[in-house]
Amino acid sequence: MYVAVKGGGRAISAAHAWLDETRRGDTSLPELTVAQVEQQMGLAVDRVMAEGSCHDRFLAALAIKQAKGDLIEAAFLLRAYRTTLVRFGASEPVETSAMRLRRRVSATYKDLPGGQVLGPTFDYTHRLLDFALAAEGEARGEGPQAPAPVGEVPRVTELLAREGLMQREATDDAEPGDLTRQPLAFPAARPVRLQNLARGDEGFLLALGYSTQRGYGSNHPFVGEIRVGHVAVEFTPPELGFAIELGEIAITECQMVNQFKGSRTEPAQFTRGYGLVFGHGERRAMGMALVDRALRAEELGEDIAAPAQDAEFVLYHSDNIEATGFVEHLKLPHYVDFQSELENLRTIRRSAVAAEAARDGMAEAARDGTAEAAE
């Protein structure tokens, strides 16, 4: 019997009601609040803000709750919201040397102006499950806190550049491109590449960055500096003509120092890989910095041989909202194209069988002919 597909609308409504039910889970347990997610799942919130490309902790936390903890789904919710917001202008560039630091480490100097600040980090923790956390309700005391460095803390790469050892970045006053308004085109300028990577999937950036370390587009990186903290965002309204501070955002900046052999026109010097992401996301910022440097291969006259150096490959596949949509669309019905493949395959197989039969027939006829001639 023909199974009617009618009733899809009812099925969708029922499925979504079930989804709501599973989101809530066991109702004898208290419901998770958005504030709890925001406070106690802070790094998940940071990742969703970065990939959702929208700095709003409350909305990111809400998205995580709504998405049942599926962070890519949460980033998608945030992106779909963000795209409806009105744009009233572009901020002034943020000044990370004036960052209110929580953490700042350099792997290239033992000590340096501004010092090393370990900050709240998983680094050097022993990864032992802490069963004390399972016994809820215990208030943990505040950790000791040293006073944060005050005033400007110069960037390591700037100190190197003053000595002529670090390549200066080209400055350009032109307004940088915006991927969310104009589609990607190639060759892609570095600001556009960086925008793409800053919103890119953390796993993708991590894997590509890792691949450069293992020899696929090697660029011998050192962590010049990672800094995590808050920076002021300033905006110049045209009617005022001077910048006003809108507020602060949390960011992580990573500057990788990479070797560069020099070329016929340029002396040997260090080059930079740059990562800047919303929230506290060191893994993401480091991956981004490694990939940024790898993508500069063409500009620096290096061979383009590895995936991480291939701008089209990297930039077209970094976005997990695009990727998850297209991979998961395979769940949609494909009856029609599958049916045409079926018919096509049957036709090809029929003609192959017919051709074989014809060949056998000819061989048999030829054998019979030889036999007759022999008689």
């Binding site: 899809g8 609308g9 409504s13 695009e322 096509n344 036709t347």
Partner: protein, 293 residues
């Protein structure tokens, strides 16, 4: 949760008619105009993130949203059917954000958004068909780099595709492409017709309706203006042949429509039915009336 059809639960008060803001619609309309002016040529556009996933019709939805007016009557099909889940979801989206009338009848619709099919009933001049396109670049399987395919289009260098089709014939005796079969538009641009079955390709040729194609994830729009020649690629000695299952529809008896194969048991039992549910339904009514007379 309240039902999705409940207007109180729509949560769309703050949104513009048809979801997109007017500046975005204008940007998309400009891309559409450019696309109509250069038939078959892909126009990059600033596709937005939509509240539906990429790959699930966001390109078609943006094109529809940009051309939709309050007086339009919208039909949405997926695999030829109005009642497949994603078609229902997209139709509900527009009901929710634009409040337009919807229909399942091909004849009554002013805009038809489709995935993977062209309706069996011939379309008219006062209709627009909007295709959802997963991959707008017909050469993508042969050359993945966009910078390079753009060059090939500029030079009208389509040798790669001809060789690919020739290799099928040399190895298999047939062209093995059964859907998303490449077409030449207005004798100039090679174009992906979207993954419609090759059976539907001839319907595109000199169609009276405007044909618009939206690829959201790939951020491209292209178009075929009314009455534009569209030729499926082929060779003199291996002419293009549309493929359909050699059966009659088990429900309406049509021997001309495109058929879906439905498995009815695990012992090889199967039946063939029209993929175009509106066409099939109308024919069933007509057959029943004839029998009654």
């Amino acid at each position: 949760m309240t039902g999705i059809d409940d207007p109180r639960a729509s949560g769309t008060e703050g949104y513009n008619f048809a979801y997109l803001d007017e500046a975005t619609k204008r940007m998309i309309r400009r891309a559409i105009l450019k696309a109509v002016a250069i038939p078959g040529h892909q126009i990059p556009f600033g596709a937005r993130e939509m509240p539906l996933p990429y790959g699930w019709g966001t390109g078609g939805i943006q094109v529809t949203a940009a051309i939709l007016g309050p007086a339009d009557v919208l039909k949405v099909i997926d695999q030829g059917a109005d009642d497949t889940t994603n078609a229902i979801s997209i139709r509900r989206f527009f009901t929710r954000v634009a409040g337009v009338a919807t229909t399942e009848s091909t004849a009554e619709a002013s805009i038809i958004q489709t995935r993977h099919r062209i309706p069996e009933k011939a379309l008219r001049e006062d209709q627009v068909i909007v295709y959802q396109v997963p991959q707008p670049e017909p050469l993508s399987k042969l050359e993945p780099r966009r910078a390079e395919t753009e060059r090939l289009h500029a030079l009208a260098d389509y040798g790669l595709m001809h060789v690919r089709l020739y290799e099928d014939i040399a190895r298999l005796g047939h062209i093995a492409k059964a859907y998303d079969y490449p077409v030449m538009v207005n004798g100039r641009y090679l174009m992906s017709p979207s993954p419609i079955p090759a059976f539907d390709n001839p319907k595109m040729d000199r169609m009276p309706a405007l044909q618009l194609f939206g690829a959201g994830r790939e951020k491209r729009i292209y178009a075929i203006p009314p009455y534009t020649p569209v030729r499926s690629l082929d060779f003199e000695d291996h002419p293009f042949r549309p493929i359909r299952a050699p059966h009659a529809c088990a429900l309406c008896g049509s021997t001309e429509s495109y058929l879906d194969e439905v498995l009815t048991d695990d012992a090889g039992g199967r039946m063939f039915v029209c993929s175009d549910t509106d066409y099939c339904g109308e024919r069933q009514v007509a057959v029943a009336q004839e029998a009654a007379e």
